[in-house]
Amino acid sequence: MNLEAFGMDTITLAGSLEVKLAAVRDAGFSQVMLSARDLTSHERGVAAAIDVVRQSGLRVTGFQVLRDFEGLSGHLHAYKIDVARAMLRMCADVGSEVLLVCSSTSVHATGERDKLVSDLAKLAMLAVPLRIRVAYEALSWGRHVNEFPQAWDIVERADRSNLGLALDSYHILATKTAQDELEYVFADRIFLVQLADFMWQEVRSPEDRINTARHFRVFPGEGVHGEDVAALVRRLEAMGYRGDYSFEVFNDDYAQLPVGFVGARARKAASWLTSHLGRRALPWRRGNVADR
């Protein structure tokens, strides 16, 4: 396993998009996970932000995040379809092949499985002409879907080749979901893996999970669940997962510290993980955005 497999997420870093991308590159990474806000909040607008990303030479790991999408009906569903279309267009325009979709937290969303399945199948259909794969993630405070086996059940039933799972070690640790459940998941239907740890043993309530997830995550190797994170990666590698690992570290301290300091910690986390796993052969990777 080598550094090529890992990337940083702009949400971890302070500063402008240009500053963040430079920091990711300077830390030695070749890919970056982007948020829609990176583009829409750029001072020169979305098109200029897309140019900045394409000029950076970094490959875009994925684009986040479509929230509270599935399970709605009537005008709420129509509204979210419009939002999804706009997100898909931005995702395609910035050269990302993966759109991250988090399980719904909406009180207006049904938990009826058939409806969740058909909504995600519809989203996958919208994504086909744009060459985008939809990665569905179980948020640990999701209203109806909050553990990856539930998300996998929906993905499997939807049965669309461009619909798969996003796994986030934080959510798996927060809900203490058994990693053995991955035995039922096909490795080629995992489209993205996000890695983070945290500093305390447990996050029991949904409120604790939200608070920790949004403010107190740390890089793998910095928290108290390092062995579990490493075990997750080891298991994914053994399953045959050859996709990307993105450090999804929301941390209020990192968001106010120099990007060089944070980038160095991300680099250290990648080294920490690889030293725990051994090197893997350079896997198949999609080309850099800059090469297209």
């Binding site: 519809k122 996958a124 259909m125 919208l126 669309r160 080749s161």
Partner: protein, 292 residues
């Protein structure tokens, strides 16, 4: 094999019954019209309000669109004629459109023009569109949108029994499953078993329409072609001929040039024309579909 040897009756949710027309976009309508005429397509009508011509041969209609105003969000036509749309004949165009959109198709932008029949359509591959056309009795879309050319035979006969056989589409690497999902779920296409091919270019994935009247061929980039440009788009049309050598002879007499070197020599299975106007080819495929 014979065409009717497959499986149980596939579902045909849209009551699809064939290709009503294909559309090319080009800024060279006269030059391309000359090519079409050598292929046996005769100009029969002109659009009432746009720089659009209708060509016909037997049961096949071809529309050549040189209208300079591109649809919103789409690229304007280029000099090289490009397949820009397939119109599918369906039982009820309004139903077909709403069914497709409900499943996640992108609505095409609408054109508004006086005296113009609105043909509903969705986005297909690349910049192309898929139109839905229904025909009830003697009424056809051409009666409303087009003015017959004075003196032109409105029913020019097919050369050597030529008829629509299918459309070839290039797709990205590892994208076959995505596009199979697209055509299967939106229209009811089914994948022909591996190894079952027609013509002289046996590759890719072959999809059969639910009406069994035509085929789509999906072609991923060949191995080792990472450096060549390989857009996702409609590449060419396939014309069925009950007797390919006879059709080749008849078309050669009209001035059509066929590629005559391995591996695409004209045979009784099929033939491929030279490239016209920098990017257009026509493929002949042995077929008796036209008699059905």
């Amino acid at each position: 094999m014979t065409i009717n040897e497959h499986h149980p009756e596939p579902t045909n949710p849209l009551a699809l019954s064939g290709i009503e027309f294909v559309e090319y976009a080009t800024t060279q309508p006269q030059a391309f019209g000359a090519v079409l005429q050598t292929m046996g397509f005769m100009p029969v009508a002109r659009h009432r309000s746009r720089e659009v011509m209708l060509y016909r041969q037997g049961a096949m209609n071809v529309i050549v669109n040189a209208h300079p105003e591109a649809l919103p969000g789409m690229h304007p036509p280029g000099a090289v004629p490009a397949l820009s749309a397939i119109a599918l004949r369906v039982g009820d165009a309004g139903f077909a459109f709403s069914h497709a959109v409900e499943l996640g198709a992108w609505e095409m932008p609408t054109r508004v023009s006086a005296m113009e029949l609105n043909i509903p359509g969705i986005h297909g591959v690349g910049d192309s569109l898929v139109y839905f056309v229904d025909r009830h009795g003697d009424f056809s879309i051409y009666d409303v949108d087009f003015v017959p050319l004075p003196g032109a035979n409105q029913a020019p006969p097919a050369i050597a029994g030529l008829h629509y056989f299918g459309v070839v589409q290039t797709i990205g690497g590892d994208r076959s499953a995505d596009w199979v999902d697209f055509y299967r779920h939106l229209f009811g296409f089914s994948v022909l078993p591996g190894g079952q091919y027609f013509g002289i270019l046996p590759k890719g994935t072959l999809l059969e329409s639910p009406c069994r009247n035509f085929y789509l061929q999906l072609i991923e980039p060949p191995e080792g072609s990472e450096d060549i440009e390989w857009d996702e788009r409609l590449l060419r049309i396939g014309l069925g001929a009950p007797d390919v050598p006879a059709a080749v002879r008849a078309l050669r007499e009209r001035g059509v040039v066929f590629i005559d070197r391995d591996p695409v020599q004209p045979t009784e299975r099929g033939a491929l024309t030279q490239i016209y106007l920098g990017g257009v080819t026509f493929e002949l495929v042995a077929s008796h579909l036209g008699g059905r």
